[in-house]
Subunit: 182 residues, 2 copies
């Protein structure tokens, strides 16, 4: 790590403590000695799952995303409960969101969604050898539709600019890069 | 769009108005009629640039990201100024961050970084036919290092889990999907 790029916290203030996020505003010292503020959204972290069925078919979900006012096509994902292990969370979310369990789990990496203003980290997993699981169903305030789609169709949608969720594109890319490397 | 997935705003409150983001907390009506709150980080939007030199070499930047406390390897990116066109912003950021201009620009799509809690949208561009530009330099509170790296090395780093920035992986994926399609 380049020492010259580091920023040091001087002090800060918790502006908001909420349901899924907190907001802090810190004063920090820059590499040139100047002082600025950094606005930081604290988030518990989440998981993203790439669920792959036989025949290179993927399971995606459509979900209304209130902040952007649109239904987006996404990989299944969900927030970590307090203290929850990512691998446990991934199993839970797969059951809740698409009603499936997986016999095989492969970690694909960790991502920061918005490192400029949030500490949210996503743990990405490949889930294979899938089978139906008696559904727990999604959270009380979560409504979504699962779809099984051939990989070729998903990649065509991505190429045509019809998949707008960054974690979904990043997760698919990590899957593609590691396919055949296992 | 599935009508059954929609959520309707009832009312809301601006909690914070800041330098790079605002925070709003809205009460919304869910598809089942229940009422919940949605915490929304409002962001001006940003651009991401995939700068490609001859010989399949990419220009990436290393930058300290205060919210995650790490130096990350990323594609050049930056926030839109108020009212700024994304294509203008992309040209400005390329000059500021890597000291280059591009003769050819290709839009690769738009992404939402965190549609679960923010409206941040990223406009992704491919920049080719690059040439040095007398540098404006980065913003006053921005410190970064540019590196030219072969595509093969960048993809190896991504496969090994050493690129953690989601927009960078998503941008590279969009570039890969569209390469040869122009």
């Amino acid at each position: 790590m380049s020492v010259t790029l580091l920023e040091q916290r001087i002090d800060g203030e918790r502006i908001y403590s909420g349901k899924i996020l907190d907001l802090e505003v810190d004063r920090v010292k820059l590499p040139n000695g100047h002082v600025t503020i950094r606005e930081v959204v604290r988030h518990p972290g989440a998981v993203v799952v790439v669920p792959v069925l036989s025949g290179d078919r993927l399971v995606l979900v459509r979900q209304y995303r209130y902040p952007v006012g649109k239904v987006l096509l996404e990989l299944p994902a969900g927030k970590l409960d307090p203290g929850e292990e990512p691998s446990i969370c991934a199993r839970r979310e797969l059951g809740e969101e698409i009603g499936m369990s997986a016999r095989r789990w492969t970690p694909l990496g960790t991502l920061y969604t918005t490192p400029g203003f949030s500490d949210e980290v996503l743990h990405v997993f490949l889930a294979t050898d899938l089978q139906p699981q008696a559904g727990l169903g999604p959270d009380d305030d979560e409504f979504l539709e699962a779809s099984i789609m051939p990989k070729s169709e998903v990649f065509t949608l991505a190429r045509e600019g019809k998949i707008h969720d960054a974690k979904t594109l990043a997760g698919l890319f990590l899957w593609q890069l590691t396919a055949g490397q296992e």
